[in-house]
């Protein structure tokens, strides 16, 4: 029997399979190498970087919720320079396409980082995280206002030829409007979803649990919201979609692809089962085999038929 073709094309980007890891859950690609060779993945996405180093939020930064977790890491990262000099050379050795997630607090932040990322390295694409507060506009997140979202993408687009992934925030009334905005801004690919804003309170101390009060909800709990958004965006926008939000098993991944995702990202599930991404790759192939598909790309969007 011919093996199932897992090759995945996302705009200019070609991956050996559609399974990648989500930003912020996979460090800079080194930790999970203790469990398996990261080059088996379609790609890895590294922790969001900012122009300057950031120390992030005080502890506690994570708390469990029913079938999910909240995180308020606060974009702790070594900053652009340190990333380029220390981390990028190490990433190069992993022999895996690397997606660099960039986060900023002004248009200049994004533009600066896009310009600084080399186009001839292991960096396969730039993922623009627009869930950050826009400091110049009163702290409203770029990702909740279509105009700001478009502007961020345009600013980034001007400064790099690398494929651009716009990562959308689910904390919006209308995800489709945002998707169209980033398409206009010049995104090649859309990834969704980032985390849902949530919080928990400690009933003993009677204070918010997280040092930052609020945090981002991820994990299986958010899966139905994420599938819905992928489904909606697939109907409205032509760009390929990277689906994420609660994916823990190959069945979850199939669900996202049927909804319209061309590839999937595994985030929180890494923490529970470090081998989840590999099991998902195998499971996707097996699902295709058992259902008579010769290439995994054939199942993308089938739920819309």
């Amino acid at each position: 029997m011919k093996p199932v073709d897992l090759t995945t094309r996302l705009a200019g980007l070609t991956l050996k399979n559609p399974v990648m890891t989500a930003s912020g859950t996979y460090g800079f690609g080194e930790e999970y190498a203790a469990f398996y060779d990261p080059s088996r993945l379609g790609a890895i996405t590294v922790k969001g970087i900012t122009p300057l180093p950031r120390r992030g939020n005080p502890a506690p930064r994570v708390v469990e919720t029913p079938s999910g977790m909240l995180n308020a890491v606060g974009l702790e990262n070594p900053g652009l320079d340190e990333f380029l000099t220390t981390y990028l050379p190490r990433l190069e050795k992993l022999k895996t396409p690397v997606i660099v997630n960039i986060s900023g607090f002004s248009l200049d932040d994004y533009a600066l980082m896009a310009a600084a990322l080399p186009e001839d390295s292991c960096i396969a694409a730039v993922e623009v995280n627009i869930s950050c507060p826009n400091i110049k506009q009163g702290g409203l997140a770029f990702g909740t206002d279509p105009k700001s979202a478009e502007a961020v993408l345009s600013a980034t687009r001007k400064n790099t030829k690398l494929p651009l992934i716009a990562k959308l925030s689910p904390n919006v009334t209308d995800i489709v409007t945002l998707a169209k905005a980033v398409e206009n801004g010049g995104a090649d690919i859309i990834s969704l979803i980032n985390t849902l804003l949530g919080m928990r309170i400690d009933i003993k101390t009677r204070k918010p649990v997280l040092g930052n009060i609020m945090g981002g909800l991820s994990g299986p709990a958010v899966l139905p919201v994420a599938v819905r958004m992928v489904y909606q965006v697939y109907q409205a926008v032509r760009l390929p979609i990277i689906g994420m939000g609660g994916i823990s098993t190959w069945q979850d991944a199939v669900e996202f692809m049927l909804a319209g995702a061309s590839a999937v990202s595994v985030g929180t599930a890494n923490f529970v089962n470090p081998l989840a991404p590999l099991e998902i790759i195998d499971g996707l192939a097996e699902y295709c085999r058992q259902n008579g598909f010769t290439a995994v790309r054939e199942i993308v969007g089938l739920a819309h038929r």
Binding site: T25, Y32, K47, P58, R61, E64, V73, P274
Partner: protein, 290 residues
Amino acid sequence: MLHRETVLENRSLGSAIYRLVLKGAVAATARPGQFVHVQVGTATDPLLRRPFSIAGIDRPKGEVTIYYRVTGRGTALLTRVRAGETLSVIGPVGKGFTVPAAGELLLVAGGIGLFPLLALLAAVDRLAVRVKVLWGGENRRFLEDVGRATLFQMGVDYAVATVDGSMGHPGLVTDLLQAALAPETAAGQQAESAPSGGQAGALVKSPEGRTAITVAACGPKGMLQAVAACCGRAGVPVEVSLEERMACGIGACLGCACLVRTAEGTPVRRRVCKDGPVFDGREVVWDETG
């Protein structure tokens, strides 16, 4: 680093404390102060793994022992696992304690903070290193349930303090530490105030000529801070084992942040799971807002 370990024992010791003995690959490389990150359920709730310190390492038999307190849903679920079943375990994880080769080692424990120190106690060569355990708890009942017998069996010098005074020194374990580090003054008073049932007498054994005292401590954050301060004043090196809420447990998510001061005094982030959980007590920035 991801293993299925077989449960050999999982039973209650009283005071909601359980002993869990695991057989498998972890023991081969485990060191005192490291921990295991255990999947407690199979469904998506509770979702995350739970970290537990390695309290005993039997390398020849391939066994590690952990002690856990039932505090919430995850540990409650863990009590349901039976001998013969397997658990998914990430480990051993983290940077453990320095095992001194000579001198004197003071193990300072608060409550269930005793557990990781037991592994260190077992690892240190007690012919070469003089070891004392200082242990504080709520009350006698807790200390009896949790492991006073173990300390006794291990034949180690120890002193205890209880908040309610039902055993040993009535007060905090840091009182005992202070006494041990400055025997001429406080310790004398300590010994007098120790009730007859206590072991505080061990403290007043002649401390002369001690050159290389080191301290290893584990317990609640407030206690560790006091221990670090106390050691700082006495100029004694101290390692503390920190706890923080964890997600990945292996350094990938930055969920378990703490702050330490570099040699130059710059505060920098460290991951409790990967860069710790054991840190040099003098480096730790205890209060981030301060």
